[in-house]
Amino acid sequence: MHIAEGFLPPAHAVAWGVASAPFVVHGVRSLTREVRKHPESTLLLGASGAFTFVLSALKLPSVTGSCSHPTGTGLGAILFRPPVMAVLGTITLLFQALLLAHGGLTTLGANVFSMAVVGPWVGYGAYRLLRRCDVPLMVAVFFGAFAADLSTYCVTSVQLALAFPDPAGGVLGALGKFGSVFAVTQIPLAVSEGLLTVLVMRLLVQSSKGELTRLGVLVAGGRTEARATGTGAVA
């Protein structure tokens, strides 16, 4: 769930923008370096951005019976890595605010922090940790996507709680209130997104070995491997 336009008081909107800025600037530098080194990367990164945008527009059947959409941050971070996801996520959130009236410009900083910074880093961290422990690829992918989705919503709850403390319970009371509202829908949705990401990855391993090797998810020959750290999503 994106925080809607105008939802946060001005001071909070600015503060979250400032908090997101270093991550986005770092991502922009990585992306600029990559594009200057390999000009053809522009198109692949654009394709990655479009894929992230389309992924967030897919309707996800929820366990609760309703319908929602995946955040796509887990899969994006596993495929393209968190620094690049900070930029692609920011572009996607800007498009969603202007083309779908989803999210907002004054709340862009807060949404970027939860969806393009914390979600990808937590998801990627969980994925990398599990891969280092020799956990099978698909199990690591599931927990990566699950952690990315759930951490995104946890951060959103914190952002809302800080902006709207409960009159009786304060920030903690508000956190419980927003957290419980999200928990009803988001825990099943995080499980759903994890399952969907595993299914997508299974199909990708079968059909797009070349691209996955180029992105570093598979090593040459189509084997799966926990990859070394670093930037260069499309190198």
């Binding site: 951005g49 389309v54 498009f95 809302l160 969907l196 299914l199």
Partner: protein, 250 residues
């Protein structure tokens, strides 16, 4: 093409420079969150609505279709302020000041959303993105955003057609089939995006691609009259807010 962007391409203000529209639309959004919600945000909401339906010529039905999405989020978010956690009245009870806080939040968010919609409904993305370079955004980032924008429309169209084909093959009849179809949809979107990118790359390489995507941007000049008019309008909204604030709150 997405409905808001399609409407922006045929907007009455399409030929105006994005800065003109940003000053007015985003200025209203800033006022909505900076002014006291009552009567400030209410005045911003009214002003944005009059400009959208009047001079900007946005059809009411299109506006409502786009506006109901953020409005739904605003209502859901504001509803949580009606209750409080803990206190002498039990674990969960109605907050004393809840209706006022929820009403103010609803006013602020709905007014701010209309300001952004005014900008979005009159400014196509293809006019805005190339000009971001002048605003200091690095060229490679703008190029990636441009490719993302152009490819998103094509991918969304592909996804819609794949979903129709899946439905025609009974791909959504059971929960298991729906999950299989959804996973196929996500994977196909990935494959198509990368396939399209590599074909674009091959095509551009044949045309001497040097790493810069050159696109034609419709010529437009910043209108001093329009911008000045917008600033005066924003100033009037702020002034009327402070004039009315005393009498209306007493």
């Amino acid at each position: 093409m997405l409905p808001i962007d399609a409407a922006a391409h045929s907007s009455r203000w399409r030929r105006r420079h994005p800065v003109d529209k940003a000053v007015l639309g985003l200025g209203l959004t800033v006022l909505a969150i900076a002014l006291p919600p009552w009567p400030g945000a209410a005045l911003v909401l009214l002003t944005a609505l009059v400009v959208l339906l009047g001079p900007a010529g946005v059809p009411a039905r299109r506006l409502w279709r786009a506006y109901r999405v953020p409005l739904g989020f605003c209502v859901t978010g504001a509803a949580t302020l009606l209750v409080q956690v803990g206190g002498p009245e039990g674990v969960l009870s109605l907050a004393d000041d809840g209706p006022r806080r929820a009403g103010e939040l609803l006013l602020r968010t709905s007014a701010a959303s209309l300001g952004v919609l005014l900008f979005a409904f009159t400014t196509p993305m293809s006019d805005l993105l190339p000009r971001l370079i002048k605003a200091g955004v690095p060229g490679p980032v703008v190029d990636v955003a441009l490719v993302t924008y152009r490819m998103s429309s094509l991918l969304l169209d592909s996804v819609r057609r794949i979903r129709e084909a899946q439905a025609a093959r009974l791909g959504h009849t059971t929960r298991a089939a729906a999950w299989r179809s959804l996973a196929g949809l996500g994977a196909t979107a990935f494959v198509r995006a990368f396939d399209r990118a590599s074909r674009l790359q091959a095509g551009l390489a044949g045309r001497g691609y040097d790493g810069t995507l050159r696109v034609l941007v419709p010529e437009a000049r910043i209108s001093v009259r329009f911008t000045l008019g917008s600033v005066v309008l924003l100033g009037c909204v702020a002034a009327v807010t402070f004039l009315l604030k005393g009498p209306l709150s007493s």
